[in-house]
Amino acid sequence: MSRGYLSRLRGLALPVAALLAAELAMLATGAQSDAFARPSEILRAMWAAALDGSLAAASAQTLGNALLGLAMGGGIGLACGLWFGAVPRVGRLSALTVNLLRPLPSVALVPIAMLAFGFGYRMESAVVAFTCIWPMLMFAQDGVARIEPRLLEVAQVLGLRGLRRAWKIVLPAALPRIFVGLRLSLGIALTIAVTTEIVANPMGLGYGLSMAQQSLNPALMLALVIWIGVLGWAVNAGLLRLQERLFGRRGARP
């Protein structure tokens, strides 16, 4: 246990050293910049934003929009993916449509979403939803399509058909792939939410970031950049742990 923590702390050595070096170098040269700030200034800005509650409020907005979009888009993607995977004919018919829509950069939808929904959480979560459809769809479809044929034969011999087969055999077999799709989608959802806020939507961390930039406050701007990175890392790490708990013993060998 303690060894695990130690080795994890060791991973912090490089970034901490880099920050220290930057701090010292900038102090020594007395550099002044609109784009950069000393690590200590960034830390102070982050601390101030944390104290006055603005950081928490903006985080809640961004995360809320990301999760709302993920729930909608991920839900649609999951349903379609399960359907396409379970019925290969439908999967083949839909392939062209999916492949045409998927590479569309979701930020290109921001102007349309703005016209349809105006500013606010609806517009942002709609853009996030569109983005999240595709990874969920592809991983769910792949998970169902790649199910071990022998398991389907076992189901057939046992007389499991229809919904009972889907619930007891197909869905649990596809679940690990679906979970990978969920993990990817969440990362993408966070990215797209912040992007939409920077480009157009006046709320959340992305808006705060672009405000800090326009008011020539590099310390706060960089503090927000770092905070967004930490947030993304934490969300992914949480899901990885959940994944390990849910599926860890499946492939484990003593």
Binding site: E153, L158, G159, P172, R249, R250, G251, A252
Partner: protein, 276 residues
């Protein structure tokens, strides 16, 4: 397996002979796959409680025969009857033990959960399931591993688990497709003896496919040999030999029995694939 079970198998009065009224009958069964005749003109009767082993060169349709009997595939011509009724699909009391146990088990369910699948499929009420799972696991020697996952078991234990799941179906017919082929020799021998005791206790009719002639003679009341590429003139059935070895079988005594050696010689000469 429990000691009580082993003793039961030692009782000579339970020795099973082919019954007069066959449980399964194949009448002139033929099957084409991809334009090729795999099985042709097969007439066969399996008695109630009979242990029939199937041998033959690779590609002779051993596995296909098993799939025919399970109802997973239908014959191109001819009839397959069980209790005088046409076999037209998988039945609850016909179980298949696959060779690739690793793929036939649900990796996301525990040992007990895998056995439970067969009970759930048979719509056994939840309250009764655990009372049926425990004795089944005890029968195959997995009572202490109920909470483990398949990936945490050895190959032999995984195959025991698959057999337990099949027994949960309370099968009248047990179809086994080279079930011990991937196991090491020691594990295979202990599974052979445990299987014989189990099916004798339950009176199960077994069709056992193997490429191991000694295994076929050791286990079987009868050994049938299939012919590869029968064409449309010859029957797939090349040999049908009743094994007159005494029960219970014993890994040393049976394998040293003169009759065992004679049969082995006979089948070996017959089955040997032509050298290039």
């Amino acid at each position: 397996m429990t000691a009580a079970l082993r003793e039961a198998s030692l009782d000579p009065s339970v020795a099973v002979r082919p019954a007069a009224q066959p449980l399964i009958r194949l009448d002139g069964v033929a099957l084409d796959l991809g334009g090729r005749r795999i099985i042709n003109g097969l007439d066969l009767a399996l008695g109630r409680g009979e242990f029939v082993c199937v041998v033959g060169p690779s590609g002779c349709g051993k596995t296909t025969l098993l799939r025919l009997l399970s109802g997973l595939v239908r014959p191109t011509s001819g009839r397959i009857l069980r209790d005088d009724r046409n076999v037209d699909g998988p039945a609850q009391d016909v179980a298949i033990v696959f060779q690739d146990y690793g793929r036939a088990l649900l990796p996301w369910r525990t040992v007990a959960g895998n056995v439970s699948l067969a009970l759930e499929a048979a719509r056994v009420p939840r309250a009764e399931r655990s009372a049926r799972i425990a004795p089944l696991l005890a029968q195959v020697g997995l009572a202490a591993h109920a909470a483990k996952y398949p990936a945490e078991l050895s190959g032999g234990m995984q195959q025991r688990l698959q057999i337990a799941r099949c027994l949960a179906q309370r099968p009248a017919v047990l179809l086994m497709d080279e079930p011990f082929g991937a196991l090491d020799a020691m594990t295979r021998q202990s599974l052979q003896d445990d299987l014989l005791a189990l099916v004798r206790q339950h009176g199960t009719t077994v069709l056992f496919i193997t490429h191991d002639l000694e295994e076929a003679i050791y286990l079987g009341d009868r050994v049938i040999a299939l012919r590869a590429n029968p064409g449309s003139q010859r029957s797939s059935l090349a040999q049908d030999i009743v094994i007159e070895l005494p029960h219970p079988r014993d890994q040393l005594a049976t394998r040293e029995h003169p009759e065992f050696l004679r049969l082995r010689r006979f089948l070996f000469d017959f089955i040997q694939e032509p050298r290039p």
